[in-house]
Every structure is written in C-alpha cells, then in structure tokens.
Symmetry: C2
Subunit: 395 residues, 2 copies
C-alpha cells in the first residue's frame, strides 16, 4: 500500500499552515522591501555579546547545561524571572509559578493542551495574531472573535460572550497588539481580570511587545489585577534579545502550570538549557534593559517615518497610531482588496501581510499590516513610495 493512503488526524481538516510563513517564501527575491515580517531588526540581535556569554557559560557550567534539565526549567532563570516580572509586568509570583518555555508559542500550545477539548470555545480579538489562531484551531476549538477599538477589545461585547457562550479561554495581546499595534486601556485590563474570575474563563495574556515602547505611559498587566488565578501570562525574549534562541515563559497558578509541565514532558522534555542560561545572564547582569533602550531609539524613528508617509499614501483610508511594538494596521478605501494588490506590490518590490488573515472569520479585504522593524529609514521611504504608486493607481 502506498503511503498516500495515510489517514491523518482530523485536527488538520481545514488547516493549511501559516499564511504568513507562506508569504515569506515570496520574499526571497533580492532587493525586496519587506513590511511583511515581525522579526527584530538585524541590528537589534546581540551576536557578539551572545557569543561571549555562550562561551563563558559553557566553559563554566557546560556539564550542567549540556545534560538533561528539569521540565520545570533552569532553576537560575526561574529565580531571575521573579524580579523581572515584578519590575516589568507589575505582578508577583513565586519561582515555581513560572515555567520557561521554547518560545511563547509553546506557552500557547501548552495552555491549549491543558484546557481545550474539541468543540470548546475560545474568545480572540478581532483581528489577532494568526499563528496562535492556528494553534487554537489545531486543538479543534471554536473561535469566538470579539471586535476591538482604539482602546483594545470591547469589554461590553466580551462580557456578553462570556455570559452566553461559556468559553474556556480568552486569548489577548494587551500591549502593541499584533496586528493592530493597539494597547488595551487600564480600565479594560481591570475589567477583564474581573470578568475572568466572575465567569470562570482562563485569560491567556500574551505580552511580547511591552518593552518596545516609544511613547506614552506603561500600563500594568492584566495579571496584576488577577486575584483569583485565572490569568496565565505568556512572555517572550524573542523581540528583545533573539527569536532564534526560542526562550519565553508562562506564569500561571500552580494547578494549571502543573498540567502545562506534564504536557511539556511530552512536547520537548525541557527547553534547551544553554538558551535559558543565556537569557538568565541578560537578566542577572542587567544587560536586558540597556539593550532594549538602544533598540527602541531606532524602532521609534522607523515607526514615525512610516506613520508620516502613511498619512500621504494614496488609497489609505485610516491606520492605527501605536505607541510601540512592531506593527501598524491600515485600511484601504472601501472596495480595494489588499490581498489582490499584494501581488502588484511584490512585483514592484515591496510586501505586507493582507489583514484578512488576522480575522477569525476572514473578510476585511481592504486591511493590511505593516512592519517597520526590519527596514532601514531609506527602505521605508522607498517601500512606502512603491505602496503609494500601487494604491494610488488602484483607488
């Protein structure tokens, strides 16, 4: 019998892989200006520093780092995460309430593994990060999208959905959201923590962009208002040190974290020790925040350049004005189709991600997401001029 007869699991029905990662394959053309990704700038990756840290750690503790580690994580990192969480995310937890993971993508996977049976309902922002929508769909949950405005997800609608649909989980990116760049207001953060406990819904709070702030005041995390333990907080070092190292963390109440640890035993046993130790060194030696400050100076210029040019771009009806993060979300005039126009833009030498992919129910064909972190000021100027050409000609 030929292996074409393999019977795949039903969780893959209707799943075709990340649309974004497929778009990336179009971008291998030399000279292409990509506003499509969500990668850190190459300048933001501390290669020389990591080289010395990695060598030093392996010479000093190589016999520990190269051996099997605990599923629960590298103990020094768990300890150094506690003050980091207190300082940066304004909530307190014990070292055994935080789990280092293989990128915060794994935190999402483990939360779904712990919580989701097929047919369970998960509320997501509309629009939201499509990678984690795929993660949720692979657990065969039903996605319930709730619209957002300039202050983030609409909490009145959210409460209605909590009340009538009894979802298991809310997935939310409160700060410089992907794809919109919007930040959830303080009042709504408090309200969501309260609604979670009132209706018994786990909040998966995904906050990887918080440290990339270029304007405005920091806000406390939703988890900082969580008295009852319903908020699971997912963090990442991908945007502030390196995505290639694959280190993030999950902070949650002990019972939920225990299920995630058991799930992780069968996912990858533990996150690579060397990678955890490198992140631990950034935290312990006080290297992280100075590095972040350097990155932010440049990202702020890139974002402001792009925002300035968007205001003059033909065909663009409106766009968000983030205070940080990596993304701007824009709308073309009614009737224009960003997915179709992408091919014209790619032919000219510039790319973005059509917004429709970020909506659980599709539609919104006139929207698109722009990233500015991977392009120089010159590339942003050139790329925006090309977008202006294509959009003006089609508006």
């Amino acid at each position: 019998m030929n292996a074409e007869n393999i019977r795949f699991a039903s969780r893959f029905d209707g799943i075709s892989g990340s649309a974004i990662r497929e778009i990336f394959k179009l971008l291998a053309v030399p000279g292409m200006i990509s506003f499509a990704g969500g990668n850190p700038s190459v300048d933001a990756l501390p290669d020389a520093q990591c080289a010395e840290i990695a060598r030093e750690l392996l010479l000093d503790k190589g016999k520990i780092l190269l051996q099997y580690g605990a599923t629960e994580g590298y103990a020094p990192l768990r300890e150094s995460l506690v003050p980091y969480l207190k300082d940066r995310f304004s909530f307190t937890c014990r070292a055994d309430e935080v789990l280092p993971v293989t990128g915060s993508t794994q935190a999402m996977d483990l939360l779904c593994k712990a919580l989701i049976d097929p047919g369970d309902k998960v509320v997501v922002e509309n629009p939201t990060f499509l990678g984690n929508m795929q993660a949720i769909r692979l657990y065969q949950a039903q996605l319930l999208p709730v619209d957002s405005d300039e202050d983030g997800i609409k909490v009145d609608e959210l409460e209605e959905v909590f009340k009538s649909e009894h979802p298991k989980m809310l997935y939310i990116i409160p700060t410089f959201q992907n794809p919109t760049g919007r930040t959830l207001s303080l009042e709504r953060r408090k309200k969501i923590a309260q609604l979670a406990a009132q209706y018994g819904v786990v909040v998966a709070e995904d906050d990887p962009y918080r440290d990339l702030r270029y304007a405005g005041q920091e806000l406390p995390s939703i988890k900082s208002f969580d008295a009852e333990g319903w908020v699971a907080f997912m963090g990442s070092f991908s945007k502030v040190i390196s995505p290639g190292l694959r280190v993030g963390f999950l902070a949650a109440n002990a019972a939920l974290l225990r299920k995630c640890v058991i799930g992780k035993q069968s996912s990858d046993v533990h996150t690579a020790n060397l990678n955890q130790a490198i992140v631990d060194a950034y935290l312990r030696r006080g290297l992280l925040m100075p590095h972040v400050e350097r990155i932010c100076q440049s990202y702020a210029q890139q974002m402001n350049t792009m925002l300035g040019l968007l205001s003059k771009c033909g065909g663009v009806a409106r766009y968000t004005r983030p205070q940080g993060g990596l993304f701007i979300f824009a709308e073309l005039q009614e009737g224009m189709d960003a997915a179709k126009l992408l091919m014209n833009c790619v032919d000219k030498g510039v790319a973005y991600v059509p917004g429709t992919h970020f909506y659980a129910g599709g539609g919104h064909e006139n929207t698109f997401r722009l990233n500015f972190s991977m392009s120089t000021i010159e590339q942003i100027e050139r790329g925006m001029a090309l977008l202006n050409e294509v959009f003006s000609a089609n508006s």
Copy 2:
C-alpha cells in the same frame, strides 16, 4: 470564582506525569548511586568543544542564528543530515524529507499530532519507553502492547494485531531498546517494513542509541527496507552529543512531514538555530564519530562490569545482555516486588527504575531497569553490592 474551578482538558484524565521524572526527585540525596536515569555520563558531554563552537558560530553567523529561522529547520543541518543518515542508518532521503526537531520527543509529539484522533490504536513494544507512552496517551490513543523476546518485538503477534485491530501507528525502538537493551533482528526489521505497507500502519522508528554499540554487528534501520513511505524515522543527538541542546530529527515521506511542519509551527515555530548549528558543526567537521568512539570505550567497561556483577546478584532470576545502549533489564524471582524494594534500596543509597512503569498494562512487578552510563566503575561495584544486600535479604 476561584481558579480551582478551572476545567482541564479530558486528555489529562488519568495522566499524572512521568513516573521516572518523579523518581529522579528522590535521588537528590548526596552520595546516592543512581542506576535510575538514562543520562549520558558527565564525561561524555563535550563542554569545552561546544564552548568554542558556539562562540565561533555566533561570531560568524550570529545575525542569522539569533533571527527567526524556518520551521523546516536550519538548511545547513538538513543538508548535513542526508549523508549522516545514509552512512549511519543506511537509508537515503532528500534534505526536504528530514525535519530537525527539539529533541526526538518532539518528533513523537508531531507524529501523534499528525496522525492520532482520540480512540485510535497505537501498537507499542511490551515493555517500552514510558515517556513516549505518555505522549501517545495524551493524544487519547489506545495502546496495544505486543510482547518482545531476545530478538525484539514478536512479529507474528504483531501481524495478528495489525490484521485484527487496524492500528494507526507502531512505536518501536529497534536498537538497544529502552528499557530492555534488546536489538530487533534483521529478519524482523524487514518483516516490519513489509507489514507496515501491507496493512497501512505508520511505523515510528525511534533509534537514539544505535551509535552506542559495544559488541556485535550493526543492522540497517527498518526505514532502509521501507519502499512505500510508511516508516517515520526519529533520531536524536541527545545520547551522542548533548541532551541539554535538545536537537533531534524526523525523516518521513513528504506528505507526513508536511503535516508535522504545520504542527511544529504551533509547537515552537522552529528549533533553536544555535543548537541546530552546533550539531551541524559536529557533523560537517567530522567531530561526531571520534567523540562517539571515545564514549563507547568507557560505556562498554561500565556495562560489562554491571553485567558481571548481576550474574552474582541475589534474587535476580534473569537479565538481558545488550550489545550497546544505556540499559539492562532484569527480573527478580517470582513474588519479589521491585517497586516496593526500591525504597529499601534508596535507603541504602542506590536506585533503579521499577519495570512495571514500562508496561502499557502495568504488572511485571518483579522487573527493573538498570542504567550504567552515569556511574563510575567504583559506583557500579558499590551500587551492585547494595542491590545484592537488599535483594538477597528479600528473596
């Protein structure tokens, strides 16, 4: 509402976490001689070499290694795996038919994700590696254990089960099996490849110990006899370079591998680039096999010392005589209980893993697994003397 009211997913019903990893927590007592683990010897971990390789790679290619990578894996590693697979595992595949993963545990998870719906049947050796039994159980499959003898799994029984039960998958460790140390015979390897294609069953071939051979002749992999693409081959660098780096690989037919890639997008996006590049350097620079030869010299002495002392150990009825790997499996006299006696042994200062955990249906309380790689010759002599004391007194 207190978070004690969280409703967990039904896949966790009856799952309590790895019994072995819980036993390890008992072993933190200083001076404890552990025959319980499956870790490489500390002497086998190339810390100084890895330190220089890591530094060099980060200085040379840090901007690539610290950036996001492809879910499909670090391209140079995929390329260097092709001749490695041909040379060591005697099968040919293209670079795009092999997927670097975050330890071969992730390969198992991705195969289950791709294939298993709740209620599907998976055949396992009886006994087998309990970590992967847990992985399969978390996908809510039904385990069908098939007994082994000195030549590995009994293929006549296997064919009966394939015919009558229509399983989706067979999980098998053909070389120096965990926990028995046994090696599947050449004839049975051929037969299993043939049965897989005849009955349409995916074979998950898990072969992490093959390079740790201390006697006898190498055998080709089951996959080398797989004409139709039903065999998915899982390999690991945990036993020959470092478990802490978490790098393994999965080789499978293109359609199955594609599902695994999509599954991996939501598991951890990609395996950490630096870790893949370190393994790639071992393969490209010809560092791996000389390192393995060094390890094997020492492991062979350790195994032979333990085997010699087992022959004189009170209460021991029989035991396997592996030609390699990390484990010996032994049976106490009928009526003795290795799980109960473990506590007496731990009190004396020596530990093993009770064999019952490796049987899908439990039972076999008189069996136990011994590991020799983590102990010096002196520790093996001392530990075996302590086992002899306890077992003699209770036989």
